[in-house]
């Protein structure tokens, strides 16, 4: 046997227990130190600004995977905790509106469809619009003319119904000439050259 090996094995008999003892002593010492430390007092002594000045925030952010972070977030829970009213109160709505380009927005709105949804009868009866119309619509003569025309149209339809029954027509004919039927809007707003209804006496 090599005399060096004998020395090594003798050394190990002493060093291994000594190393384990040193480990235990170190752990115990650390425990004692940690328990003895006042973390709050220690934190109070740390100059965080100086610490942060030494941190390269950009480098830290580059390492963060924001998408992975967002995937792990429950946005609904977060929104539940947000006081929207408080947020809105802090917003400068006027500034937001000033920045909105309304023209493309209005281009996408179907005004004709919007107007069709308005209950004009209620609008005229319940607002000042009715009073304005009544004062500008020509009085008794206009009223009498409307009544005569209405009665005539009613009688037209009455006669038309009887003729259809007489000839046993299941489907009525076209209601208007083709140029006035398509597009449908043509009936709602006919060309002034063809149907200047408001120009009538």
């Amino acid at each position: 046997m090599n005399p060096r090996d004998r020395l090594r094995s003798a050394g190990r008999r002493w060093t291994d227990p000594a190393e384990a003892l040193a480990q235990q002593v170190t752990e115990r010492v650390v425990d004692l130190i940690v328990n003895a430390l006042d973390i709050n007092e220690l934190a109070a002594r740390v100059d965080l600004n100086a610490l942060l000045n030494r941190v390269d925030i950009d480098a830290v952010l580059k390492k963060v995977d924001v998408n992975a972070l967002l995937d792990r977030m429950d946005v609904n829970v977060m929104l539940d905790r947000v006081d929207v009213n408080a947020v809105v109160e802090r917003m400068d709505v006027q500034a937001v509106v000033d920045r909105v380009d309304l023209n493309p927005l209005l281009d996408r709105v179907d005004v004709n469809d919007l107007v069709k949804r308005i209950d004009m009868d209620a609008l005229v009866q319940k607002t000042d619009l009715g009073a304005v119309m009544a004062r500008s619509s020509g009085g008794m003569a206009s009223e009498a003319l409307d009544a005569v025309r209405s009665q005539a149209v009613g009688l037209d339809q009455f006669v038309d119904r009887w003729v259809r029954r007489l000839f046993r027509r299941k489907h009525p004919g076209p209601s208007a000439p083709s140029a006035l039927l398509s597009p449908p809007a043509a009936i709602l707003s006919p060309p002034a050259a063809i149907l200047p209804a408001h120009a009538e006496p």
Partner: protein, 185 residues
Amino acid sequence: MSAPAVQADTYQGHYAGSVSRFLAYAIDLTVSTAVFSLALAAISYGVHIVTGHSVSWNRSNIVVAVIFVVWQFFYFGYSWAVSGRTFGMALLGIRVVRADGSGLDPRRAVVRALVFPLSFLLCGLGFLGILVQREHRALHDLIAGAAVIYSWDARAARLRFLARQAELATSDSPPPGSAARGASH
């Protein structure tokens, strides 16, 4: 006064029916005949003032009959050519257009006026088309390539009616607070 019969739809641009067209024609016939009679009376009066002789117009006089026919042609033809409607049609809210709905050109208006008497032939059978034809077109409409439509907006008339009713209701109702003041006296 009752509410206008037509409520939901405007009917503007739809083919006009027989009653509206008959009433319009009756008004036109009355007006044109009255104007013609007045003109004859004015001419008689003028002749009497100038010459001292009184002129009596005989209905069977062929000259008067021809002038009357020409006047009728002028009355209807000119009205249709200029605006697509006569006085009676304007009152009833109807107008003449081309068969496809576009505005009536003067040529078609003159043709329609020229062939209009044809519809009276055979006991007025030419007018039967207004009743039975799907587009309510009479013989003279078919020949001239024309149609008669409503140019009157029934929907607007209903809104005017509602506006007047609302105005009347507002004027009839006492001003706010007057009831309380009346009770205190």
